[in-house]
Amino acid sequence: MAVLSYIDAITLAMKEEMERDERVFILGEDVGRKGGVFKATNGLYEQFGEDRVIDTPLAESAIAGVGIGAAMYGLRPIAEMQFADFIMPAVNQIVSEAAKVRYRSNNDWNCPMVIRAPFGGGVHGALYHSQSVEAVFANQPGLKIVIPSTPYDAKGLLKAAIRDDDPVLFFEHKRAYRLIKGEVPDDDYTIEIGKADVKREGDDITVITYGLGVHFALQAAERIEKDGISAHILDLRTIYPLDQEAIIEAAKKTGKVLLITEDTKEGSVMSEVAAIIAEYALFDLDAPIKRLAGPDVPAMPYAPTMEKFFMISPEKVEQAMRELAAF
């Protein structure tokens, strides 16, 4: 078992799936010769050629829309949006088309497509290279949205997404790309989409989060454990549709729930998580459901002072966890 970075696990998943199934292909901006601006498709152009790793014109609605067409035909496109922030021109194709193909045709057609996009901040990306965009889509039945936190999950979930018969948005935290490393089996495994994962067992407080937040929570959990506070950490992994059962179980486990997202707070994915708990586990709660999130401002500024102010961090997470434990 090799130790891989988060991004290498993603590259590996695509490589293996492209070797396994000739219907799988990649399209996006700079994904070919350059191997992607983050190098997520590194080496794939060389291995599979320009017909299966397609440098498209600079037009996201076409990247999504052409992918949808190819997927409806029966291929398995993986479309890359260069930054999640630039998925916005493709919203109509994703929401009106990909999400609704199966439903509107009464199961006659389907759209087995993956749209990958790097998201998230803390990389001096400023307003338009730092956003969390999942909340825009996490209200559209027909879509699935996956956000892995570890290299292991990234590989298994991306492979599952590519094999899925429905459209999957796959958001990758760009700061995790090289920061997060972990063991990744060489064999061909998949992880079921729609299932959250307990990343740490604990008894005093429950933290529910995803993406980079998982690592921040794990680090903070180590620290507060020294003070005898035991944190239970649930990694959502699929943030739409949510794994209600796992959420309810995790909330009930400790009765004190902290929800963490890097996204701005109001209307985030964590609102739905809170609503699920308030609807199905209310009487098991010993504390108000707390949310730690970005401030409600349009996006993360460039200047380091303001970026840091916006961004969640292990310290902010630790403080929120301590406060909740003390409640």
Partner: protein
């Protein structure tokens, strides 16, 4: 004397008669739907009337056993040629469970039928252009020789998806035919408020593809240019843009009243160019169609429509809970 223009294109007399019948069938189904709508039996109609020549001319230039089509809401003439039946169209109009397009989930005019390679469509205009380009990309990648045919209105050619889709097709030289059915109106907005260029086909150059404008009231002309485009596509020479100019003979839809924004003369001009009348005359002048044959055709068609209407009206709706099905692939629903 009228010149025979179809023979030179390889169209037999039987073929053109069949084309005429398809045009007439589309028109009559459409007319019936308006009656049903006005009688309160179906909530909505959107028409092919005035565009049958373009639709049928184009559809006959394609291979209806292997080509893919991404039609827009007016394309009854196209889907009839590609195998959708009168009964199926009526099931769709009545929103019944058996409707092959959507099981009654979508409004009529939202075509889709996989077995006939009719790509499922939606309401937001022009999204089908990139889809067709994607199917054409698949065709090229898989080294197939089918062509993908996509249509839209002239107003819709102003959407970003037209530009992005056409450009993608041009760059990758994909086997796709983009046909704009220019009926001079986008609901109430006339052509000159939609586009500043003379012809929609002027846009082709910007995508490195040939662009041609033809009389959309003449199925033979449309057949000719679509056939050429299909041949080019199959030979690996890439996409084409075709504009068929015609008239919209009805209001935009059953929810619209076009007298609010169209003059009497404008409406009369449309009527004067009715493609059905014109093609009928052409065929009669060449003695391919006779009045008797036409009457029989009409009678057959009306019987077919009566039967289809009767069937569709009686057919059941989907059960209420059916609304919960097919959000995702079945196995996931448990």
């Amino acid at each position: 004397m009228t010149e025979n223009r179809h023979a030179a294109l390889g169209l037999s007399d039987e073929k053109v008669l069949e084309m005429y019948r398809t045009m007439l069938l589309a028109r009559r189904i459409d007319e019936r739907m308006w009656l049903l709508n006005r009688a309160g039996k179906i909530p909505f109609v959107i028409s092919c009337q005035g565009q049958e020549a373009a639709q049928v001319g184009a559809a006959y230039a394609l291979d209806n056993e292997k080509d893919y089509i991404a039609p827009y809401y007016r394309d009854m003439g196209v889907v009839l040629r590609f195998g959708m039946t009168t009964q199926e169209l009526m099931l769709s109009a009545f929103a019944k469970a058996e409707d092959p397009n959507s099981g009654g989930r979508q409004m009529p005019g939202h075509f889709g039928q996989k077995k006939n390679r009719i790509i499922t469509g939606s309401s937001p205009v022009t999204t089908q252009v990139p889809h067709a380009v994607g199917v054409a990309l698949a065709s090229k990648m898989q080294k197939k020789d089918f062509v993908t045919f996509v249509t839209l209105g002239e107003g819709s050619s102003n959407q970003g998806d037209f530009h992005e889709g056409a450009n993608f097709a041009g760059v990758h030289k994909l086997p796709v035919i983009i046909m704009v059915e220019n009926n001079r109106y986008a609901i109430s907005v006339p052509l000159k408020k939609q586009l500043a260029c003379e012809n929609v086909s002027d846009r082709a150059k910007g995508y490195g593809m040939p662009g041609v404008t033809v009389d959309g009231n003449d199925p033979i002309e449309v057949y000719k240019v679509v056939k050429e485009a299909a041949d080019r596509a199959r030979e690996g020479k890439g996409p084409s843009l075709i504009e068929t100019v015609c008239y919209r003979l009805t209001a935009h839809s059953s929810d619209d009243d076009q007298r609010q924004y169209r003059t009497e003369e404008d409406l009369a001009e449309g009527k004067a160019h009715d493609p059905i009348m014109r093609f009928s005359n052409y065929l009669k002048e060449l003695n391919i169609l006779t009045s008797e044959l036409e009457e029989k055709m009409q009678n057959d068609i009306m019987a077919e429509i009566d039967e289809a209407t009767e069937y569709a009206e009686q057919a059941p709706y989907a059960a209420p809970e059916h609304a919960l099905k097919y959000v995702y692939a079945e196995q996931e629903e448990v």
